[in-house]
């Protein structure tokens, strides 16, 4: 059942890092908090966690012109079209929803953690207690009801908006025009297009933990596109050859009489 694809556009040039999204996400998804320490940054928790599906990353940056910038990036699942996590998920817990987003059905998850290392964006997180994987599902439940995801609803400045794919791509490039070229659209050019896109004010390489050219890891492609089918093909082929051998050459009989009785 293919429906309209949705894209969440994160305009970092409008983000004030108020972190309403970070909390709204926890509120809606009923995720607890951890006791943290201040490690010399506003950013906290220090990274995504099983209970923190979206995190505002704070980064101090001096650009080429020597201008100081305080960069805020809302990190979280990018909802790839060519999703490595779905590719490696053995249970079907991770799946493409009708909106093109990557849904997660915790009931099916067996906690194998394959998705964690496969993800080019380092998004899924594992919970030791429940032995399940957690990540943003773009509020699938809300999307089904025609509602904005919790983060988008809570965003005060319109830095997070959600809409139909084409409209949001147009919007992203329209915003670039408004920014007079001082921005970069990130997300439409790789992994088949992500369902979360950024408008970045700086080059992607500047941002912490943001891959410049994300893709499904070569190891995953080898594994899933080559080794996996060849396991069956290989075993089948060998079995076939053995059968052929048996038919053509016959079994390797022992020469009973060579020695003879004593």
């Amino acid at each position: 059942m293919k429906k309209t694809e949705y894209i969440k556009l994160i305009d970092t040039t409008k983000c004030t890092a108020c972190r309403g999204c970070q909390v709204a996400c926890k509120q809606w998804n009923e995720m607890p908090a951890m006791r943290t320490r201040n490690f010399g940054s506003y950013q906290n928790p220090p990274d995504l966690q099983w209970n923190t599906w979206t995190l505002i990353r704070f980064q101090e940056h001096v650009d080429k012109n020597g201008d100081f910038k305080w960069l805020f990036r809302k990190d979280g699942c990018m909802h790839c079209t060519e999703a490595a996590c779905i590719k490696v998920c053995p249970s079907g817990a991770l799946y493409h929803t009708e909106y093109g987003t990557v849904g997660i059905n915790q009931k099916l998850c067996i906690g194998c953690k394959a998705c964690i290392s496969a993800c080019p964006f380092d998004i899924p997180r594992f919970n030791q207690q429940t032995e399940k994987i957690y990540k943003c599902d773009l509020c699938y439940d809300r999307l089904k009801d025609g509602q904005q995801p919790a983060c988008a609803l809570s965003c005060p400045t319109g830095a997070i908006t959600v809409g139909e794919r084409e409209a949001m791509i147009d919007k992203a490039y329209g915003r670039l025009d408004q920014l007079e070229g001082k921005g970069i659209v990130y997300g439409d050019k790789f992994v088949g297009g992500t369902h979360v896109m950024y408008i970045l004010s700086e080059d992607p390489a500047v941002y912490d933990k943001l891959p410049v050219k994300p893709r499904i890891p070569a190891s995953v492609i080898l594994w899933k596109n080559l080794f996996k089918p060849f396991t069956l093909i290989g075993m089948g082929a060998v079995a076939g050859m053995a059968a052929l051998h048996y038919l053509i050459k016959g079994p390797h009989e022992v020469h009973e009489n060579k020695e003879g009785d004593e």
Binding site: T16, R35, G40, F72, T157
Partner: protein, 807 residues
């Protein structure tokens, strides 16, 4: 706020100074970003680079406590560069008024200063008047004694070099801001200013705001869409609690608290009712007696009669010239003069300045009653750090209160929007609302006085206190209707030329109908009109119509006064009532009536010499004050250094600090100005994730997770000097105390060059306390001094001196 949050979107230039809007008013920033998207320029002037700076067009760093110097330079730039809106300045301000020739200003002091009392005799701060008592004016603004010329002269000293040297702002940056902001002096441009505690938390707090008000008047930015001077206030109902005046100096609706010298109602009303001889001045406060007597009727009900002066004598009277603010309160408590304290929804053991003094003061109480939704450092002071419970005599009550969604009532935002909220659930356990607590406590006190009598039992016994429903709980509507006001007798009124009988017990539809003869009662005149005569609760309205397209939403909630969304809105039109900016038309005089927002009074615009009125109807002269004699420090704001600063001498005069601030002198009131021991300027603030003392937010795991403990932000330059690593443990100390915290070494702080030398500034949030989280450090206010603004007594949290060391 003169305007309101949504109106920020209508601005062309937004100056954010004294505020960190993106962090502390994130939804205000929604509308600021809306303006920016529409092409507005957004400028942030602040000691530190914050999340606000990150989204502004640019950030200009300024040394804490030097805003008047910065803005004074802008006044000079506007006047000398002829950037002001002449029409507006001449007609709508007192720029043309001629000042008393004996008025003078010399070396930082205005005429009439009394060094002993640290205050002014203001008798020379007046206008020259003609035979009819109307102020003399020179509309050409050339008369050497006119306000405009005096203003020009006063700020001529605020040269770029001087201002740059005081503030630490480069001359390029000064000019950039001055030029960009003063461009809003064009009739079709709107400039607005957003300030918050960054301006009020200074010994020069009120004058910071007044300096900006002068700029806004010079540029014609008051009363217009996208203009005004907008206090982004910090607490959910601080507007409402201020309107209802849980304050020593005012009674609900900003009526004046009586003082000992005003023995009778007549004396009181004469003193507080302004008179104007100018027929074109509406002088709306001439209605003061109506408001005051109606309030007395709400206080004492039927016991307030014309014969007993409506119970005026029962009211407590302040001592003339004496103040009773939070600073004074804790000073007196520390002296042992205060025995009992009610502290509702507040945590002074963390939030009051000079924490050591505050906490010692609490130990001297006989009893303390706190009402909160969470425990806090004030209620639990008796087992705080360094306190031996066995030595503390105080009897403490910690009453469990209802949270906001557990009770029905109204709340006023900073834009004066009074919005209604509903009770979603009953409070947990035994918790009840603060209103219920107050009602039941007062019932118990009344019962005790009824039984035992006592000195001055009348005001307690006569207090009108019938606000319960049949179940004995607070009946919110009964209260809010009393605030709105009732007819206390059948009264005949004239409405739109027709005579009409208003029946006793009916709701008063507007404060214009309040009376001073005891036939109306009104708990707070500015809220009169929050109910329709038909009983409609206007605060609960949810109409989404926006006829002007400027975001006024006249049918959403109720806005005081009389649903006026932008106050002084008549000033958005020229003297004929035509809008200065037709593109942002909030009000227009058309076919003999005002169309648009609710106007500041129904009268025609001032060009009509017969019936027309000046636009600033609450001012006695009908115009806005460039010359403001009401201020304690003088009619023109002047730069003084903070109580504690890096300089031994004020570069502008020999008056180092504000000459009118009150200096406290207990053994715990230590001050260290320009001291080697405390070489760094320090400022304090909140963060998005916590709120005020953190007494609500520290208990919330989601918020605590994001900002878990106290930190001090220091520049990379200072960190290098002190060999402090990012994330390491440090100690910040002042003459009064110290705070242990984590160092956040950042590029967002930069050293300043002040008077030719490098001055470092650091900053800490004030959201932490010892009670919870256990390892999140204690109050930042151990560092801050007990000193406040001379007019408002807002403590100087934003500029004082500290040292930073590793620990």
């Amino acid at each position: 706020m003169t305007n309101h949050y949504i109106d920020l979107k209508n601005s062309d230039v937004i100056l954010i100074m004294g505020s960190n809007a993106a962090e502390h008013h994130p939804l205000a920033f929604k509308w600021i970003m809306r303006a920016k998207d529409a092409g507005a320029r957004v400028i942030h002037v602040d000691p530190r680079y914050t999340r606000t700076s990150a989204r502004c067009d640019y950030h200009v760093p300024i040394r804490s406590g030097t805003d008047i110097a910065f803005l004074g330079g802008m006044i000079k730039y506007i006047i000398e560069g002829n950037k002001f809106f002449r029409d507006y300045v001449v007609n709508y301000t007192n720029a043309s008024f001629l000042v008393n020739p004996d008025f003078s200003f010399e070396d930082g002091l205005f005429s009439g200063y009394d060094a002993q009392k640290r205050s002014y005799n203001k008798e020379t701060w007046t206008f020259q008047k003609d035979g009819n008592g109307i102020p003399l004016k020179d509309p050409t603004l050339k008369h050497p004694q006119c306000v405009f010329q005096l203003l020009k002269q006063h700020y001529s000293r605020y040269t770029l070099d001087k201002v740059s040297s005081i503030t630490g702002v480069s001359k390029e940056n000064l000019l950039k801001v001055y030029e960009e902001y003063s461009a809003t002096g064009a009739p079709d441009k709107a400039g607005t200013e957003c300030y918050a505690l960054g301006w009020t938390h200074h010994t020069s707090g009120s004058q910071n705001i007044r300096t900006m008000s002068i700029i806004q008047l010079l540029l014609g930015n008051m009363g217009i869409a996208g203009g005004g001077i907008n206090a982004l206030r910090g607490e959910p109902n601080v507007q409402g609690s201020t309107d209802h005046c849980i304050l020593y100096g005012n009674l609900p609706g900003y009526l004046k608290m009586p003082t000992a010298s005003l023995a009778t109602l007549e004396q009181y009303l004469t003193k507080n009712t302004p008179t104007s001889s100018d027929p074109q001045s509406a002088n709306y406060y001439q209605n003061y007696p109506n408001f005051f007597v109606s309030w007395l009727k709400s206080l004492y009900g039927d016991a307030a009669t014309p014969e007993n002066g409506f119970g005026y004598s029962w009211l407590p009277k302040l001592e003339d010239g004496k103040h009773y603010s939070q600073l004074h309160l804790f000073d007196r408590m520390y002296e042992g003069a205060i025995k009992g304290l009610f502290a509702y929804g507040t945590d002074p053991a963390v939030s009051s300045p000079n924490t050591k003094k505050t906490r010692k003061a609490l130990e001297k109480l006989d009893w303390l009653v706190c009402a909160n939704i969470f425990d806090n450092e004030t209620a639990s002071f008796w087992f705080g750090p360094g306190v031996d419970p066995k030595q503390v005599k105080t009897e403490v009550f910690l009453l469990p209160a209802a949270a906001t969604m557990e009770k029905e009532g109204s709340q006023s935002n900073s834009g004066r929007w009074v919005q209604w909220k509903y009770k979603a659930v009953t409070p947990p356990g035994d918790a009840i609302s603060c209103g219920d607590i107050q009602i039941r406590m007062m019932d118990a006190i009344k019962a005790l006085y009824a039984k035992e009598g006592g000195p001055s039992a009348e005001p307690i016994l006569n207090l009108k206190w019938n606000y319960k429903d049949i179940d004995g709980n607070m009946d919110v509507l009964k209260v809010s209707k009393q605030i709105n006001g009732y007819w206390e007798a059948d009264v005949e009124v004239t409405e739109n030329g027709a005579k009409k009988i208003m029946n006793k017990g009916g709701l008063v539809p507007t404060f214009g109908m309040l009376r001073s003869d005891g036939t109306t009662s009104c708990g707070n005149w500015i809220m009169s009109g929050s109910f329709g005569a038909d009983g409609e609760n206007k605060m609960a309205r949810r109409g989404k119509e926006d006829p002007t397209g400027l975001g006024l939403y006249p049918n959403w909630s109720f806005v005081w006064p009389v649903n006026r969304r932008i106050i002084y809105n008549r000033a958005s039109c020229d003297i004929n009532g035509k809008p200065y900016n037709p593109k942002r038309n909030i009000l227009e005089w058309k076919d003999g009536k005002w169309v648009g927002d609710v106007p500041d009074g129904p009268w025609p615009p001032m060009a009509d010499k017969e019936k027309g009125k000046y636009p600033f109807i609450m001012k006695v002269d009908g115009v806005a004050s460039l010359f403001g004699p009401a201020m304690a420090e003088g009619p023109f704001p002047e730069h003084y250094e903070p109580l504690e600063g890096p300089l031994a001498k004020n570069p502008l005069s020999s008056q180092l600090i504000n000459p009118t601030i009150e200096l406290f002198s207990s053994d715990l009131d230590q001050v260290a100005n320009a001291s080697d021991k405390f070489p760094y300027v320090c400022t304090t603030y909140s963060c998005t994730e916590h709120w005020c003392s953190g007494a609500l937010t520290r208990w919330q795991a989601w918020l605590l997770e994001m900002q878990p403990e106290l930190y001090v932000e220091i520049s990379e330059e200072l960190a290098r000097e002190l060999e402090i690593a990012n994330g390491s443990k440090v100690k910040v100390s002042s003459a009064r105390g110290e705070a242990a915290c984590i160092a956040m070494v950042t590029k967002r702080f930069k050293p300043f060059t002040i008077e030719g030398r490098t001055v470092h500034q650091v900053g800490l949030p004030f959201n932490y306390g010892w009670l919870y989280p256990e390892d999140g450090s204690d109050s930042t206010n151990f560092l801050t001094p007990t000193v406040g603004d001379a007019n408002t007594f807002c403590p100087e949290y934003k500029a004082f001196m500290v040292n930073v060391t590793r620990r």
